[in-house]
Amino acid sequence: MINFLGRRLLQSALILLGVSFITFALLYLLPSDPVRQIAGRSATAQTVANIREQLGLDQPFIVQYWRYLMDLLHLDLGRSYLQKTEVSTLIAARLPATLLLMVGAISAELVLGLGMGIIAALRRGTMTDNSLMIASFIGVSAPQFVVGLLLLYVFAVQLGWFPIGGYGTFAHLVLPALTLGILGSGWYSRMMRSSMIDVLRQDFIRTAHAKGLSRARVLLRHALPNAILPVIAMIGIDIGIFMGGIVIVESVFGWPGIGQLAWQAIQRVDIPIIMGVTLVSACAIVLGNLVADIATLFADPRIKVR
């Protein structure tokens, strides 16, 4: 187990190194010149050269990347070109909002997804089952900005139940979390349905029925815990999908998280922020996968650690 963990941790570190290299290289190749943007249009060639030197942007690529890595070891993500603030400070200020959104989204998708999956499995082959599965297909086929804008229009503009955007109260959280949750619930409901059907087919369920347990008890005590575990183990992998969605959902709802930070930085070519957010997201994804692997081990003891 220790061995397995050690190897997976090393692997994760290498993956993060790779992500940092590719992102850095991509941004290095960027045709637009950040120095010009910082210096402004009327800057003299001398000023531009000074700023370039100051930022170390006159150095060759490998030197720049090496410096970045060394700073990274001290958890220093560099300074934003345009906001003149440490990137780590900017991200740290925005991270709680994104984490809150993540908790909201995961709760929404679990409640919706598991609920739909369980009902569909129990009503298998009926109209209810079919409609729920069509709904889950629509959930995974709807782009998040469309879902977000529609939810905004119906529940914020027309009905006025929720604020149109922003951050602060629970009411602000509902629509963005639901937008992210609808996509996830589509996946979860289908996984939950097939997991539940698999479990209900097992011998021990027949035994439980045969020894006279009530239907509710068989479902709640015997079927559900077994069916839910493999599905819950997927939450880790979900984080990757979540990290993709935050840029969209945060900009639709004006949610002040790191997705919005990244989107603003991309528009202004503020490279250190783009780098920082990409790395933080990649960390979250790698960590999520690690958790998913470990959770799967616990969920199914038959899986042997390789």
Partner: protein, 296 residues
Amino acid sequence: MTAIEPATLRSAAPSVWTRLRRRKLALIGLALIVLTFFGAIFAPWLTPYEPNNQMFDGLTLQGAPMPPGAQFPLGTDLLGRDLLTRILYGARTSLIIGLVANGVALVIGTLIGITAGYFRGFVGSVLMRLTDLMMAFPALLLAICLAAIFQPSLWIVALVIATVNWVQTARVIYTETSSLSQREFIAAEKTLGAGHLRILFRHILPHLVPMIIVWGTLGISTTVLLEATLSYLGVGVQPPTPSWGNIIFENQTYFQAAPWLVFFPGLAIVILALAFNLVGDALRDVLDPTQRGQDQ
């Protein structure tokens, strides 16, 4: 031995169709896809308007977009262009990108997966580590960065989507290829002196065809969604070329007053992505033996 495999593939085709025909949802999906193609190809004959024509009578006296009505079935956008016309022409964008980007992604994914799965060893692990690395990339963020870096045109957007979208295919193909490579008939071929290329293309690839078809179909749905998302952010297909995503991008400031400008293009995106998902899912049940029995 070589003659047998193509023959079994051909004889499998009708039974696939019979099994697919029994699935109502797949047929609905197929009908929606055919309808979209029809709309995209025959757009000039289906509508009296031009997609980029800003019509004087396309705006109200106050200069606002026209709601759906007799003259403009789905209303007009904020520049007075007919929305239905733009959606029909936008279908071309979605389908071209869906097919091209997904085709490229499928080729990259298949090549990487098959090479890594067959050769294993050093080449295999380098390729699979690359795949792991791509899995850890926040794909949408990467796509947005790439699209913002290059001047986005239709083809650049397609390439950007392909670069982030080949990973899933590569993993599936890798798993399948590495299990196929262990099978006796491959060992027999090797003993008979067949070269790597011959084994890969004559013996392994034909076995992967069903899987490639399944993931190719499901992938179009992902591609359509990604294109719409990039265009919605303004880094995808650029106006005035209509795309379902950039119609929403252009009009979203008006969306509280004119919700149809978000609703109809949004509906078009959902329908097309849903159609490919429905067909792909049914194909997976029918074609992919590892998934069989899950849905009965």
